[in-house]
Structure formats: structure tokens, C-alpha cells
């Protein structure tokens, strides 16, 4: 006669299962619409059901020079911003994880600010500073903005790794006669490389997709997101935009899934922003 039932293996109430399932579907279904519309024959409206199917827009998109230029710029910006973010983010993570110093909390706080504050704040601040200092728009002004908010992504990933590592292996390395460079090259780098790589991939994805800060730092140059945004507000090439959207989804899946694989293998999951 159990007076009190102790449920070790609780079953989730149906309401919660239903609401959770609804949220998952809501999150994941909408992007699939992109896969459908890339093949529509309709070039003027977004009519559903599609009037017909075609693959002609892929060829037309591939022949557009403005798209290739935007893609090239986006990739170059993302690569340089990622390298900068990896360098600076790792240095900051090493400093914060190794020693306790006054203002250590403030460093973490400062690094997360560009992502925690509205994007327009970073954008306007950089734009106005460029105005005051008479710095013209260039490739590098875009990179500076991107590296600023990408840094924290690398920082978070590498810091998580450093916290799990034992620093005594560094001392062991030094005791065995290795100098700083050798310790870095043969001990530290191998043990942090996957975290660094995962962080770098995410930083690349973040930069490749950024539009708000870029609007203020790019001037006349068009990155791929800027090109898409201009098509969203003033649609001129709807079918080409559909194809570009599909292409962007596929491109961005690569660094994200790689980063997920890497961190999962190490028992870390740091896909939070």
C-alpha cells in the first residue's frame, strides 16, 4: 500500500511534450521554404503553390558578377576577422584563465559587450568615429567591426577549454627543459587546437552573415548579406535572391556542423552565442 509514490523515472506531461514539439517545429520548418522557392518558375511574386518548377535560376545566378564580388568580399572579410578574433580571443582567454588580477571580471564583460549591446550601437559608434577621424570606408573598416564582435566567440570556446586543462603540464614541460616557444608549440597548442578551431569556425559564420554593423562600416562595398538586404527592401531579382538564399544556407551549414562535430568529440558544446 504505497502512501506516497516516488517516481524516479518521471514521464513528461503531455502538455509539455506538445509545447516542446511545437517549438522545435516552429524553429526548424521555416528555413525549408527556401529549398522550395529556389526552383519556382514565378519571377514576380511569391505565389504558393508554385506555378511550376525550373532550375534555370541557378545558371542565371552563377552568371552574375555582382554576386561573385559580394561573395568574395564576404569571404575575405570573414577570414581576416576570424584570424584576428582567434589571436586576440585566445590571448584574452589565456590571461583570464591563468591568473587572478584586478578587473578580471571586467575583461569578460568588455568582450561580451559588442554582442550583448544592440548591433546598431556598435555600428553607429564605429561609423561616427570614422567620420571624426576622417577614415574612409574600406575593406579594413569592415574587418575591424567584425573582429570586435567575433572575439568573444573564440574567447568563450578557448576559455572553456583552458578551464578544463591542468596548467601543471606547462610546468612539467618547462621542468623538462622546454622553453616558452616549445611549450607553446608542443604542449599548449595541441591541447587547445580543437577549441580554437571550433571557435574560429563560429566566428567565421558570425562574420559571414553579419549585416547591421556592416551597413555602417562598408560604404559602397557590398558584402553578400548587404546584397541580400538590398534585395529584401527593394526586390529586383526575386528568383536570383531565392537561389542566393539557398546557397547561403548551405555554405553556412559547413562551419557550423564542423564546429559542432569538433566540440562534441571533445565533450564540449559551445554553440551558444
Amino acid at each position: 500500500m504505497p502512501s506516497k509514490t516516488v517516481n524516479r523515472e518521471e514521464r513528461a506531461p503531455l502538455v509539455i511534450v506538445g509545447m516542446a514539439l511545437a517549438a522545435v517545429l516552429f524553429l526548424n520548418l521555416p528555413v525549408f521554404i527556401i529549398f522550395v522557392y529556389a526552383f519556382t518558375t514565378d519571377s514576380q511574386t511569391f505565389t504558393f503553390p508554385l506555378p511550376g518548377l525550373t532550375t534555370q535560376w541557378f545558371g542565371i545566378a552563377a552568371g552574375r558578377n555582382d554576386l561573385w564580388e559580394a561573395l568574395g568580399l564576404s569571404i575575405r572579410v570573414a577570414l581576416l576577422a576570424t584570424v584576428l578574433a582567434m589571436l586576440l580571443g585566445t590571448l584574452a582567454a589565456a590571461a583570464v584563465s591563468r591568473s587572478k588580477f584586478f578587473g578580471r571580471e571586467a575583461v569578460s564583460f568588455l568582450l561580451v559587450l559588442p554582442l550583448a549591446l544592440p548591433g546598431i550601437v556598435t555600428g553607429i559608434a564605429l561609423r561616427q568615429t570614422m567620420g571624426v577621424l576622417d577614415i574612409p570606408f574600406s575593406f579594413f573598416t569592415i574587418v575591424v567591426g567584425h573582429a570586435t564582435f567575433c572575439m568573444v566567440i573564440v574567447y568563450n570556446n578557448v576559455l572553456a577549454r583552458f578551464r578544463r586543462m591542468s596548467w601543471s603540464i606547462m610546468e612539467a614541460s618547462a621542468d623538462l627543459g622546454a622553453n616558452s616557444w616549445q611549450t607553446f608549440r608542443y604542449v599548449l597548442l595541441p591541447s587547445m587546437s580543437t577549441a580554437l578551431l571550433a571557435g574560429g569556425m563560429l566566428a567565421f559564420a558570425l562574420s559571414f552573415d553579419e549585416v547591421i554593423v556592416t551597413t555602417f562600416t562598408a560604404g559602397q562595398d557590398s558584402t553578400l548579406p548587404i546584397w541580400i538586404f538590398s534585395q529584401l527592401t527593394r526586390p529586383r531579382d526575386r528568383p536570383v535572391t531565392n537561389v542566393v538564399a539557398l546557397f547561403v544556407v548551405l555554405i553556412m551549414a559547413i562551419p557550423i556542423l564542423l564546429s559542432y562535430r569538433i566540440s562534441q568529440r571533445d565533450g564540449e558544446t559551445q554553440l551558444n552565442r
Partner: protein, 311 residues
């Protein structure tokens, strides 16, 4: 046999030893570059912007008058600008509440009921949409909500078109179609920021020890009471951390309102037009300080509540 291992030989070796003996110097070398970047570029830019917000634009010459004045801030209190601030803050609040309601059950399920495998799957189901292209997500909704698009078609098949027309007919939130209305803006915001709410709540709930829930039950609390007095308070920091993002991201976004909106501006759009076409840089700066101020207050409160540890 003579050993020389203890003696510095190469310059690198000597440098290593020197760093080991002077940890503060090593720290400065590590911390220097990122700090110089963040302070020299980021914080000083924020400061420049704040300084500009205390200048004003001469209406006749169109030049910026570089003298301290609060008149630019006073302009924020004109009816049309107050309207913009209110509309944006109202939207941010509505979006935050809606994401909370949708996010909580999923986060709760992930933390409490999901098996390890299911948890991994759900984690991907939340983070993949988070990391897929922001603009493409907005574009997908433009396609879904278009007057001739899939949602109208589904609603038509269900014979609910009259209901949607009624909804679109409501003055302040309606519009010609879902893809050009405040309802549309709201839906897209909820969609794009939802993962930012789920992850911190899940992280917070993940840290609630199972024994605590059992203890609450053993002491006679019904599940509803345990939820109200044990789970909810422990999830609260996560909810604050999530709302920090949903609120902040909505305040500073000009993409969604430009794509889905009508002619009523949100803060981001107003800032963009002051900075760009009308060249009123001081007003753009002052207007940007509104979300900055709101977020500063929010961040300070969140730190007090320990919500930032949940990030």
C-alpha cells in the same frame, strides 16, 4: 658530467625564464593586445558617439555645432520621436514575453525529461536555426507571410481567411498583409531570437539538482507548488539572461522592420536615416544612446541577479 640545463642558453630560453620570474609582465603581454583593441577601438568609439550626442545640428547651415548642449536629447521628446521609442520598446517587451512563453516548455523538457540522445538532438534543433543565416531566416518569413504565400494558402484551405482579414484589420497591429504589418514584425522577431531565450533557460534548469525536486515533493509540495517555489526561482537568472538578448536584439534591429514593416519607424530605422540621408549625426548618436541606456540598466540588474553567469 656537467649539466647546463639550469643555465639560460638561448635568448628564447632566457626570455622564458624571465617571464616565469615576472608573471605580471607575462600577463601584460597576454592581455595587452585584446585590451588595446577593445579599449582603443570599441570603447573609444562608444565614447566618441556619446560626445557627439551632446553636439547639435544647426538647422540653417546643416553643420554640426561642436558645443555642449542638451538640445539634441530634448528632440527625443518630440511627439514623433517618443512615438518611435515607445513603439520599439513595446515591441521588444512583447517579443521578450512571447519568446519566454515558447522557450520555457522546450527548455524545461530538454533539462528535465529528455534522454541524453534526445537532448543532443534537441540541442542541434535549437542551435542550427540559431546559427543559420539571419537574413535568410527573415527572407523565409517574407515568403511564408506574403499575401500570395504559403500561410495564406493554408489558411484558405482551412476556410479561416475571414479570421485573418479580421486580424489584419485591427488598426495598430494590422496591415495589408501579414508580410507588411506589425504582426509580421512581431512573428519574425520571435522566430529569430527564440534560441537566445531557450539556451540560457535550459542551462539554468540543467543546474537544478534532482534531489532538490524530490526533497520538495517529500516535504509535501504538489508538482505545481514545486514548480512555483523551487524551479521557477532557480530558472529566473536564465530567463533574465535570455531576455537580455531578446530585448537588446529587438531594440537595435532595423532589418526586420524595414523588410516587414510599413512607414512607422523603429529606433534602428530612425538612427539609420539620421546618420545617412538626413546627416543629423548628433541626433543619430542621441537616439542610439536610448537603447544603450536601456541595456546598461538591464545589464547592471542582470549582474546583480547573477544572470550573466548563465551566459
Amino acid at each position: 658530467m656537467k649539466t647546463t640545463a639550469a643555465l639560460p642558453r638561448s635568448p628564447i630560453q632566457r626570455f622564458s625564464n624571465f617571464l616565469y620570474a615576472h608573471p605580471a609582465l607575462g600577463l601584460a603581454l597576454l592581455l595587452g593586445p585584446p585590451l588595446v583593441w577593445m579599449i582603443g577601438i570599441y570603447l573609444s568609439s562608444l565614447f566618441t558617439m556619446l560626445v557627439q550626442s551632446f553636439f547639435r545640428l544647426d538647422d540653417f547651415t546643416g553643420q554640426i555645432v561642436r558645443e555642449f548642449t542638451l538640445s539634441t536629447y530634448a528632440q527625443l521628446f518630440t511627439a514623433s520621436n517618443l512615438d518611435i521609442v515607445q513603439r520599439t520598446a513595446g515591441m521588444a517587451t512583447a517579443v521578450t514575453l512571447a519568446t519566454l512563453l515558447i522557450a520555457f516548455p522546450l527548455a524545461y523538457y530538454m533539462a528535465r525529461y529528455a534522454s541524453t540522445r534526445a537532448k543532443g538532438f534537441l540541442y542541434l534543433a535549437v542551435t542550427l536555426p540559431l546559427w543559420s543565416s539571419y537574413l535568410v531566416k527573415v527572407y523565409a518569413w517574407k515568403l511564408i507571410l506574403a499575401k500570395e504565400g504559403i500561410l495564406s494558402w493554408v489558411i484558405g484551405q482551412l476556410h479561416l481567411t475571414a479570421g485573418m482579414d479580421w486580424l489584419l484589420g485591427i488598426p495598430t497591429i494590422g496591415g495589408p498583409s501579414l508580410s507588411i504589418s506589425p504582426i509580421g514584425i512581431f512573428l519574425v522577431f520571435v522566430y529569430v531570437w527564440l534560441p537566445y531565450m531557450i539556451l540560457p533557460i535550459q542551462a539554468a534548469l540543467e543546474r537544478v539538482p534532482k534531489s532538490l525536486l524530490e526533497a520538495s515533493g517529500d516535504l509535501g509540495a504538489k508538482p505545481a507548488k514545486t514548480f512555483r517555489h523551487v524551479i521557477l526561482p532557480l530558472a529566473f537568472p536564465g530567463m533574465v539572461a535570455g531576455s537580455l538578448f531578446t530585448f537588446s536584439l529587438t531594440l537595435g534591429d532595423f532589418i526586420v522592420p524595414s523588410v516587414m514593416g510599413n512607414s512607422s519607424f523603429y529606433i534602428g530605422q530612425a538612427v539609420l536615416s539620421h546618420q545617412g540621408t538626413s546627416g543629423n549625426i548628433p541626433l543619430a548618436a542621441a537616439m542610439t544612446s536610448v537603447p544603450l541606456l536601456i541595456m546598461a540598466i538591464y545589464l547592471i540588474l542582470a549582474r546583480r541577479l547573477g544572470a550573466l553567469d548563465a551566459l
